[in-house]
Symmetry: C2
Subunit: 188 residues, 2 copies
């Protein structure tokens, strides 16, 4: 069915534009131009802009789940998996420098807009939080696993915010090294 493909194209274009320009600043016209469709036609696929947002968030949830699954398959142990997460601010360095963290900036914007879909955006954070907590638990830190998970999550948010503000890649690299050293020192 070609409709499903068109819908997926719309979601993909909206996903990128919401990331680069923010949700509110992105208009139907901009998404339509990106996909190459007429503006009015959107109503056939989505009844409102909020519905596109919901689809985008759902798409991101799925992509995040897939990425975490892949990390579990590829990485040897929990420590290596956590390192994968820590390095993500360096792996996606260019995008983060230009547009910040996709999860963090969307969550912050929806909070200011008091948007109904805010909890769904926060759930993206929870996805990482739960996954990290599981890794720290496997690392033998069941007692403070959630606290450590939030700490690593906060690290990534802080680094992303400053990387975006100052555009400094060296800073990102240094902070990743520091955080990896912190992780290595956890064992002892």
């Amino acid at each position: 069915m070609a409709g499903g493909a068109t819908r997926a194209q719309i979601v993909a274009a909206a996903d990128r534009l919401f990331y680069e320009q923010g949700f509110e600043h992105t208009s139907f016209t901009a998404i339509a131009e990106a996909v190459g469709l007429s503006r009015g036609n959107f109503y056939y696929h989505f009844k409102s802009k909020d519905e596109i947002l919901a689809a985008v968030i759902g798409c991101r949830v799925e992509a995040t789940r897939a990425m975490l699954r892949q990390w579990e398959d590829e990485a040897a142990g929990p420590a290596e998996r956590i390192r994968r997460f820590i390095r993500i601010v360096e792996t996606n360095g260019a995008d983060i420098r230009d547009y910040g963290c996709p999860v963090g900036t969307l969550t912050a914007e929806l909070a200011k807009l008091r948007h109904p879909s805010r909890p769904e955006a926060t759930a993206l954070f929870t996805l990482f939080r739960d996954w990290l907590r599981a890794q720290f638990t496997a690392l033998g830190r069941a007692r403070d696993a959630d606290e450590l998970a939030l700490h690593v999550l906060a690290f990534s948010q802080g680094v992303a915010a400053l990387a975006n503000a100052f555009g400094d890649q060296d800073f990102v690299r240094r902070e990743v090294e520091r955080q990896e050293a912190w992780l290595a020192a956890l064992d002892s």
Copy 2:
């Protein structure tokens, strides 16, 4: 001159609204209602919305400078001054939980909007960065003072982002303790 007072009232109201709702989402009408003036009259005080933003940023720069000066007066040494900064995420806990960091969220929004005033917003970060670097230098860490300053800045941004997302004050308290322990361990 009453005009100066009115102008200051407008800037104060806009400052708060930009913080709570974001710059783009805040309309002239909303600011006018907050101040109790007619919408059209704004053109007498500010030629455009961007001009209000510039005034708001300038106001925040001045307030930040005053706060940093006060910390220098009140706090005993550089370590205590840095602790003041670290604790700010707890001191302003309620606002940060509801609206995030004023500097971080504004910088992120203006980056997405590609707004001309973005450098001025980033300068707010630089204000803290330079001040922290000076404190770390006074602490005898001249060699890596800037790196340490950015690290502390990243801490505050990360904590603010997650505090806003999850609304968890205990998390903030724990992270402040952790960061203070990190600072205390720097001496040795």
